[in-house]
Symmetry: C2
Subunit: 518 residues, 2 copies
């Protein structure tokens, strides 16, 4: 690029390969032709193995691809100029608005993306919805403890504590004298969002601290019988608006309390999720539904973990259609490791019980330290998928075995960036994973925590930042269809989900053609 003949913006491998050469003919023609023919083969070989390299686009899709790639080429060649600006190279929280101006982003937003397979149930719906619909309730109380942590509670009677002064949120808001500033303050505490992440968070520990703090605040609002179902419905509404057809949530399942403080069972939470998703799918036939992966915090001892594993087994047996497996959450670097919980995690297989695992593993930069072996234990414990797997490129042997077993990595590019594993997403390990066509799905982890919704922003980052200039509509189609392939749906369900997505895809292609084909 940048002004030299061969260096104009070039996708050197797409589904439509162009190899126009107009060199001054100094080289002997036959040698050069042999060279160029070898070069073409290599490029085709490279493209063939990437994510989407095996997808054959039909005539309409090829047209839509050419529309998409025109936009992409324009955006990337502009970005690659000396004073250019490439959003995936910068912290998402600072470039969200810029991304949303992009034609490529708008295309992706409308595109049926299949399934969101790695998304946490208490960070799916917009905090603005919580602020508007929960914090203005007369029974919504808050306090700020000595560490500065915001706590919320919905209750019939004023909570009392010697540690923390409880008032209704409305009282706090009214005392503040400025509702909109106060609500912005709430938003800041319900998320990790900031315009200046580099200043706000100087280490992974600092951003994880705020991350944990925001979850604690959100859960005070969500884990109440009055809100729990409505929040989930709002989450499904946002995913549906983002053109996602199906979701598997990482679900804490409470503890949910009622307005009298009575604690509900996890069974209650699962039942509410089921009712909400059934109703939602009925109202929106283009939405397929939702299932839960039961999760627990990793920061506990082995005995508690054993209880959690048994609880997961019980829930899965009681709700075989909606609780599909088990996972551990929390900052992996802080431990403990999967190996530490081995006795608990081996319990199901040792007792002939099937409990699918969907382990977070390898969400770390610390190669060779104990945390880094989680990815190995996830493999040995027969995980169904791997959450993040950020460390996978540093484990070629494990990677080979995972691939042989067709175990997909759940890639959450924005999460890894804002939680400070990587700055420029072009250095994210999913770039080489996509280049070698490793099984993977794109998801958003905790979109509400950093001002995202659904999975479109993450798809945009993957398409522009991880897939390189040559990633095209075939890549996107593969990512969407693989999200169905690697979902924890039964055979019949999977076929139905695939059909539903394909229908939405075909409509999308027709719409794009109608709107953008000359």
């Amino acid at each position: 690029m940048y002004g030299s003949p061969s260096a104009t913006f070039a996708f050197f491998a797409c589904s439509f390969l162009l190899f126009f050469n107009d060199y001054i003919s100094i080289a002997k023609a036959e040698d050069k032709n042999t060279y160029l023919s070898k070069r073409r083969s290599l490029l085709q070989e490279e493209w063939k193995i990437t994510t989407g390299g095996g997808v054959v686009l039909n005539a309409d899709e090829l047209k839509v691809n050419s529309i998409l790639m025109k936009w992409k080429a324009a955006e990337m060649s502009e970005a690659a100029k000396p004073k250019g600006f490439f959003p995936p190279a910068y912290n998402f929280m600072t470039v969200k608005a810029k991304i949303e101006e992009s034609d490529v982003f708008r295309f992706i937003k409308k595109m049926p993306k299949g399934a969101a397979l790695h998304i946490h149930d208490t960070s799916m719906a917009s905090p603005h919805w919580l602020i508007r619909n929960v914090t203005y309730r007369p029974d919504c109380y808050m306090c700020i403890d000595k560490t500065g942590q915001l706590l919320f509670r919905l209750t019939k009677s004023q909570p009392v504590s010697s540690q923390c002064k409880w008032d209704t949120v409305n009282q706090y808001r009214s005392r503040s004298g400025n509702s909109s500033l106060f609500d912005a303050y709430l938003y800041g505490n319900l998320t990790i969002f900031t315009d200046h992440p580099a200043k706000a968070y100087r280490s992974q520990y600092e951003v994880w601290h705020q991350f944990g703090s925001a979850f604690q605040a959100v859960e005070g609002l969500v884990f109440n019988t009055e809100i729990f179902g409505a929040y989930f419905e709002q989450a499904l509404t946002e995913l549906y608006a983002d053109n996602v057809q199906y979701v598997e949530t990482r679900a804490l399942l409470g503890p949910v309390v009622d307005l009298n403080g009575a604690v509900q069972t996890k069974d209650w939470a699962v039942t509410v999720y089921n009712e909400v998703q059934h109703k939602f799918s009925k109202q929106h036939p283009a939405f397929f539904g939702a299932k839960s992966i039961y999760i627990t915090q990793r920061s506990k001892d082995l005995v508690s973990m054993m209880s959690d594993v048994k609880e997961a087994i019980r829930l899965r047996e009681k709700f075989p259609d909606s609780v599909v497996g088990f996972d551990l959450v929390g900052m992996e670097d802080q431990g403990p490791t999967l190996e530490y919980f081995l006795d608990a995690l081996l319990y199901p297989s040792q007792n002939g019980i099937k409990l699918p695992y969907f382990f977070h593993a390898g969400e770390t930069d610390w190669e060779g330290m104990s945390v880094d072996a989680n990815i190995l234990d996830a493999l040995l414990l027969n995980t169904s998928r791997i959450g993040h797997g950020y460390a996978i490129m540093k484990h070629p042997h494990i990677r080979k075995l995972l691939r042989e077993r067709d175990i997909a990595i759940e890639v959450n590019p924005i999460s890894n960036q804002v939680l400070m594993l990587v700055d420029d997403l072009r250095n994210h390990p999913a770039a080489p994973l996509m280049a070698e066509g490793f099984p993977l799905v794109i998801s958003s982890d905790d979109p509400a925590m950093w001002g995202s919704t659904g999975i479109s922003h993450d798809f945009y980052e993957a398409f522009m930042g991880l897939g390189g200039a040559w990633a095209n509509l075939a890549t996107l189609k593969k990512l969407a269809s693989d999200s169905i392939r690697y979902s924890a749906t039964g055979q019949t369900e999977k076929a139905a989900l695939y059909k539903l997505w394909q229908k939405a895809w075909d409509v999308f292609i027709k719409d794009m053609l109608r709107q953008h084909w000359p």
Copy 2:
């Protein structure tokens, strides 16, 4: 790590593997033992394929390894704490002093590292040497042009120009009123060094601009018959002090002028290099010598490139023992690409002439754009090694072919970081390359440009940041011996170089044992 039983700092694969487990025995012993045995095998399998995994350390080396790994474990476990600080995660220019306090660094500094195979001849010796020994000369002139570019010239008579006011550096210095501040100002202009790189350089283009500007300034001082040989001798002195045994420089070979402005031939420059290195090796029998890879700027047209290729052929034929090949330099993203120069680069092979290539290729984050194909053309043009190859992980097919042909990547971690391809070096592609034992050597590219000397800082970054916690003395030994293996030395020379390095290595091991073994 961080306080849980299994999570204490652990190198999970070293040459001495420890698998102590003291779990509460809930799991059935036989199943768990099977699991742990599989786990051990996997860890061993992973270690075996890493860089150094195949090296068998002798008894003395194992002792030295345990000394080294005690230091490394202490430094890494400290760094991994919530308020810890891990130098490879930060721009080298901001952590150089911190690195130099490290026991691991001091160990590496003393260790015989073999060959520096990717280092540019005008950025090998300290700019402080240039400032002290050249800029105080009465015949050393400088001017500052309209763009703020510092230019130097050594000449018998005052240079005259309507564009730029030439004075001796001494006049400038004396007018400044503060010699040490003035010399610091010179240092700033002869390097890209700054305490605040994030503020000074907001893009790769900005840092490359200063990089080019600093080279222009340096070359004004070095490319003079009075200085050229002395500068090279100083470069060898610094490499030797850094315990490097042999060097292959990327050499521009001028144009060097004398004090009357008469331009010397490239043959003159090669002859000076040969004289200096022969004399130096004679004075320092533990130093093996130096060879040159003739380089030219890539920012030119095809006809000029053809002349350069022919010049390279001529120089190699005339100096078969010291000019070993040809390469193109300059910001790859700015182009042109290798493909653009195909007619020139095919010329030797088409005419039955052997001209080994040592191409810079893949020094880019722009996957799928035309620049990204350089790595493919380097392969097709039968490059002997690849400079940087930063993009290689995004080209699995090319990587496989390069590996089959045993073509090594010259990794320059600090260069890639300060020139802004990556921030945290744990995200550098050489981490996965080392994990899969891909042939590679560690070098320093342009150490003088960012306040480094020799290759020890880069070895430190590779050992701590790229190799992960498990990289140990076997890793370092492999990196050092591979630098000899992939050098462009003839068979007899290589054996002699290897012998010389082995001797230094054995002395080093004995010294370490004497100093640090209890």
